[in-house]
Each structure stands twice: as C-alpha cells, then as structure tokens.
C-alpha cells in the first residue's frame, strides 16, 4: 500500500467533550489516575495508533472559579513529561507526545527531559512546541503578561534551535564504553554548544547521549502566518484544525508549499487533521450519544468558553438573544482563528447566545455515525490530499476510543488505508520520518 495514514489521539482525562466528566460512564478520578491513562494508551496501542498525545497549559485558573469548576480543563492534571515517562514503561510501541511551552521553560531542562523520555521509551518521544496563549500561565513564571505573539515565536525559534543543538551534544556513537582503553566516551565526539542569543545564553553539553530518534519528533500546531512559517521550518508533525476537506486541502498545500523555502522535503512533515470522532452501530445511536453529552453542557460553561475565546465577558447576557455587537472586541490578542470563527458566527448567522455556545462547543463538530460513515469521511480527507493522517479526539474516554479501535480500525485496514501492525521500532519509523543525521557525521 501507499504510506498508511498516521493516527494520533489527543487525550484529555475523561474525554474531549467539555461535559464528559459529568457523564455516568466517566471515571471521576481520571485526571490523576495513572491506571486510567495507561488503559487508554494500551487501547490506542491495540488500535495501532502512532501517537498518544497530551496538551498542556502550565497554570490553573484562579478567577471565575465557579464556571471553571464546571469545566475543569487543566485544573488538576499530571504534568506531561512525568506522565509520559510513567507510560513509557506501560506501553511498547505507541509514540508519547507532550506539550511544553517555549515561553517559560529553560532550554537545557527541556532538551534533557525530552531526550530522557526518548531513551526511556526506546525512541518514542515527541514534543509539541507551543508558545502558550494566556496571561495567567505567564504569571506563574515571573511575568505580568504573555509577551506579544511575534516575540513569543522569535523566542520559540531560538529555543527549538538551541534544544536541537543540545540533542546533538554527542555524536550517535560517542559512548564507546571501551573498557580495554578505559574510555567511556570518545572525547572527540562531544560537540559543546556555545550560544549567545536574544532570549537565551548557554555554554555546555547535554548530559545524556543523543536520543534514539536522533531527536524527538517535533510537533507544532500554529495556525497564524508566523505559526505556519515556524512549522514549515521546524515541525515534523502538524496538528491542523480545519473543519472541511476543502479547507484541509488548502492548509495542506499552503503548509507543504512553505517548506521549499527552508529546503525541506514535503514528506518530512506529516499533517494530521484534528477530528473529533464518534462511532456507533447505527447513525441514530451516534446522534443519541452525541446529544447526551451536549445536553450536559451547563449554560455558564458554554458562555465562559465563548467569552474566553472571544476575549470578551459575555456573562449576564440574555441566553436567548443574539450577542450585542458592542461586546465584540476590535481584535484578538491570543488566538486569532478562534476569535474570527466566533465573530463570523455572530455577524453572519444571528444565532442566540445559547445556540452560539452549543454550536461552538468543540464536541459539536464531531464526525459521527457508523464505522462505514466515519471511515468514508476519513478516507475522503486522506485520499483527497487534505492530510497525512488524523489527530483524533474522543468525547468520552475510554468508551469512544474503544468503539473506534474495535470497528473503524479494522474497516480502515480492510480498505488498505491502515497497516496491520507496527512497522518500525521508533515513532519516527512508524510515521515514515527520516532520522536526522548528526551534523558531524560524514
């Protein structure tokens, strides 16, 4: 077969749907239960997923707490690197991807921890490089507010470049462990880094061997112009958030097109379409399952989520009337695409506030139906050149992942779109990404 589709899943503890934690089948303790996460990772591994992925924000909300208590995203979760390290010993094949922000951390520590995870997992680590998008995280790191978008990306560029150089501190065969000569490493194969940049200064070498993958897989999900350029330059996996195959194709062509400027082969970057999916035995059952979760959304949550992404306070407004024009800010500070999407809905569709938040709820655009329907839609995206694979979100975990693994995966295999077993040992090999050679290697 041609290259099989890549499959990743974004794992929020009880599921992707804001109200999932309220569902009777949800595990109330999920967010700090390693057994729960291990079950999900093993299930995804049974389904031959390439990547188990966790998002992150290094902060808990401290305001508007009643609303956030109704949608407890990131309020009580494992830290990604520690979580993925624990999972490395509980899984064998699946890639382990986590988010870390370049706006707050130290490059040496990030390089070290991801390299360590790559060694622990035998070459299955991936780093989702984000610049963060809120002030309340910034305040946990000595800042009053998040630096402007352009500055964050400049820092991200410098950080990723530095981290990659740190991963190359040693050539692949530097640690010779030659007992006869009494040399643990070949001194000529260390390449210390000397960096004097705008955001970072560093002189030294990483204290761990070059990662099994050469370097952990770099993921990016930037949607802005700057974000896309950054991805074209450095990312090996991109999570896309387009919602139609047409938009997906345009994004795909645009992003792969940008890579030439950076002398990169378009095949060295895999674009995974973000897609919430829900499969059931019948179309009606899928609708019912979907409606059941939608009905659990508390109005306060719906309004708060909208407020967050519109960057405006919509509380206190009539739920059954449209959002007044004067409540809409002039421009987005944090996330342009979310902002534009909401403003578009308000201006073009004249929805009531309630209709707006139900429509905006991220579970709402769930691709749903029978295994055949879901496989059809995935096939259309994949063979139509809109993606190299999918970043799937499951509204309720582990239920919806299990349904997918048991029914859609075999269907995709029958169609020759998915492999029958893990082809490689490392995440890179499974994704069909080349292993970056060490710059000093002949």
């Amino acid at each position: 077969m041609a290259r099989p589709m890549a499959l990743a899943t974004l794992v929020h503890p009880t599921g992707y749907h804001t109200a999932s934690w309220l569902h009777p089948q949800a595990n109330a303790q999920a967010s700090t239960s390693i057994e729960h996460y291990a079950g999900i990772a093993r299930l995804a591994e049974r389904g031959l997923f390439d990547l188990f992925f966790v998002a992150d924000t290094p902060a808990a909300r401290t305001e508007n707490l009643t609303a956030f208590s109704r949608m407890p995203l990131f309020m009580n979760v494992f830290e990604p690197l520690t979580l993925l390290s624990a999972l490395s010993g509980m899984t064998r094949h699946i890639g382990l991807g986590g988010t870390a922000s370049t706006s707050f951390g130290e490059p040496y520590t990030m390089a070290r921890q991801f390299a360590s995870l790559d060694h622990l997992s035998g070459g299955r680590a991936a780093w989702n490089v984000v610049t963060s998008a809120n002030d309340y995280a910034a305040r946990n790191f000595g800042l009053d507010r998040l630096p402007p978008h352009a500055e964050r990306y400049a820092r991200a560029r410098e950080c990723v470049d530095l981290v990659k150089r740190l991963w190359n501190s040693w050539e692949d065969d530097a640690f010779i462990r030659d007992r006869a000569a009494g040399l643990f490493f070949d001194p000529a194969k260390q390449h210390a880094v000397h960096h004097e940049g705008t955001h970072f200064r560093l002189q030294g070498a990483l204290n761990i061997a070059r990662p099994p993958q050469g370097h952990p897989v770099i993921i990016q999900a930037g949607a802005s112009e700057t974000g896309r350029d950054f991805a074209a330059q450095t990312a090996e996996v991109v999570f896309a958030s387009e919602t139609s195959p047409g938009d997906g194709r345009r994004f795909y062509t645009d992003l792969k097109g940008r890579m030439e400027r950076h002398n990169r082969d378009p095949d060295s970057l895999k674009i995974l379409a973000g897609m919430p999916v829900l499969v059931a035995e019948s179309a009606q059952e899928a609708e019912d399952m979907h409606a059941e979760l939608q009905a659990l959304i508390h109005p306060e949550v719906g309004v708060a989520r909208l407020s967050m992404d519109l960057e405006a306070d919509l509380s206190g407004l009539d739920l059954d009337a449209p959002v007044p024009e004067e409540r809409i800010p002039q421009k987005a500070r944090f996330h342009q695409a979310y902002f534009d999407h909401i403003v578009g809905m308000i201006r073009n569709e004249r929805l009531t506030l309630r209709q707006l938040y139900m429509r905006y709820e991220r579970g709402n655009r769930t691709v749903r139906g029978t295994p055949t329907t879901v496989a059809d839609i995935m096939e259309e995206w994949f063979t139509g050149g809109a993606c190299d694979g999918f970043m799937l979100m499951f509204n309720l975990l582990p239920r919806d992942l299990k349904g997918f693994v048991d029914s859609v995966v075999p269907e995709l295999q029958r169609r020759g779109l998915m492999r029958e077993n893990y082809a490689g040992r490392t995440l890179r090999e499974n994704l069909g990404l080349f292993r970056p050679p060490h710059p000093a290697a002949g």
Copy 2:
C-alpha cells in the same frame, strides 16, 4: 520494636565506585537502561528499603574530557524526574527521591513535576534540594558562574517556601467531583499564591491536586553552617557525610538541636548516615572485592577527582611525591568539607599524591566484611544515636546491593533493627514522618 532504621540507597548506574563501570560484571549500558534501574529498584524493594535516590548535576563536563571519559559521572544519565516517573510504575512500595537544584529551575515547574510524581507513585516522591556546586552547570542556564554560597541558599529558601505554598494551592478535599451539583472542585478550597520575592515572582495556583503526601518529602544534604540551618528549618530527611560514629553523633546532636529554633519536633527530621558498604562471605573476600575495584582507578582519574574537590589543578605532578604546599588554594569556593578534608590529609599525613587519591577515592572508606561485621557497625551507629538510618552506597550494582539484601537485611531483622515488611503506603508513613496538614484545615 522501637522505630526501625530507615534505609535509602544512592544509585549511580554501575555503582558508587568511580571505577565501577570498568568492572567485568558492570552493565556497560547501565546509565541509559531503564531495565537496569528497574532491577535495582525492585531489588531494593525486596530489601524493604525506604528510598531509592538519584543524585544530579544538570550539566556534562566540556573540558578535560579525556580524564572525564575515564570517570563518566553524570556525563550520560537519565534526567531524575523522568527516570523516577518511569520507575513509579515498575515498583510498589519504595520511595523515589531525586535531586533538583534551586539555583536554576522554575519553582512552578519543580512544584508541578514533584507533585505529579507523588500522584503517579501514590505518595512516594522525595525532593533532594540542592543549590549546586559548580560553574559549568550555571553556564547551561544563562549564568557566567554560580552565585555565591549565601545567595544560593537565600534563593533555595525562597524557592522551597514557594514550592510548598504551591503544593498547598488546593485543600486535600478540594476536588469533590460532585456530578449532581456539576462542580468538579469546591471553588472555596483553592488558595492561590501571590508571591513577590527577591528571586521569584508568581501569581497563581498549581494545576494539580494536593500531593498524596501533603507534600513530597524534602531531603537536604547541606554540610555548611548555612546548609545545616536550612536543613533544620525545612528538611525531613538529611544525608550526613560523617565517617565515624563519634562525628556522626556530634552532627546528629547539632542538627536536631538547631530544630528547636524553628519550632520543629526533632522526630520530624530523619538523619541518614551516608555509608558505602560491601558485604561478602568472609572478611578476606570483602577485602579482595574492594581491592579489585581500587586497582581499576586510573591515575588520571585519581588526580582529576582530587583536583576537582581541592579546586586546584594537580595534573603533571609527581605521583610518588607529596603535593607541594603552594598548590593549595587559600579557601574553597564550592565545597568546604571536601576541601578541608583533603588539605588536612596533605598537611597532617604527608602522603604521596598517589596515596592521597587512593585514600580519597570515595570507595575507600567502604564499610566492609561479613554480614555480621556490617550489621555490627550499622547497629553501633544506629543505637548509639549517630543516625536514624542509612544512605547506603554500593560500589558495584546490582551485585553489592544484592549481597546486602540477601545477607545483612535478614541479620538486621533478626536483631529487631529492621521491619519485616512495609508498614505504610507512602514514603512518609514508612519513614515515620507526619503528613503536613493543609494550613487552611481546621
């Protein structure tokens, strides 16, 4: 029985002895083999050890590489938090302690990662708080050199205080997960931290529930006046490095005496005497095993280790003559106790350079002999009021740990000095440390 002795072990990949990696029984791949570490942790767990501990320096040497290739300490190792997280799923009872320096990291991230480890392990995390002691680590974090001793400890105090407050971001029962009311947490039970200090600024709450242990166990190993005061104020476990029961008793009395000033019960701090041990069936066999490793020390290594701790370059000197007085610096910048110890040996004993480094090699003071001999010495320290337990170092791993677990542990149990099984679920419970109540708890 009275409180049983606490047992910890400091794990360097192939063992504590500088030359251990050269031994035919050493696992050449040890330093990045999780199976190797897991084997050691499980073995220690079989021996009912309280704590598996890894030291750390966030840096690799970049100078004098031939010498360091002959003693590859910290040149190629897992990062502690990722390593311990992986081990959390591979062990059930033993505490997992790791070193992190307060001189370079972000308190929010340190608080988060140790809290996450505590949740992953069901309450088995411990943090060895160090201020680091070399310039080459500082250069990985944007500094030209390490800040002065007093400043490092001031920063450490502020950091530990802030981290503890972050661990108290939520009351123990904050996450009510009340589906009927639709509230995941009780908003009144979040206690956000507002901190404007000398070294750190932070406004926010940790995004993980209060750790199972209330907070992870705080370890310290400061030897200086400032270090001891800091330990008396905040540590719950202290690694001592005295080498005779008399000195041990003096240190013990001094440190526990300092606690009163901080209104702390002496029993809330456990002092573990650092002790390299080697057990064999006969005294002669133990001597032979010891000599075998000592003979593997390369002169370049012996001299480099001395140079490091004397903070002077001793290379090029005649190995069979005493160290000339003019090579001795006026005072130590990094580690006063090591410095004083070496200067004392040079001035008082007139050893040759070769004798000096053989004597100074940390494996040299290994307590060794039959199970009875080793148990006798431990009993003398323990019952004589020189310690609450031991931080044991094994020169060759897993060999020497296995010998200890198989022979000395049963002997200590027969003498009523060690328990027969793990008494508690958490590290705190096993050590007999109380769980810190949340400040807001009635």
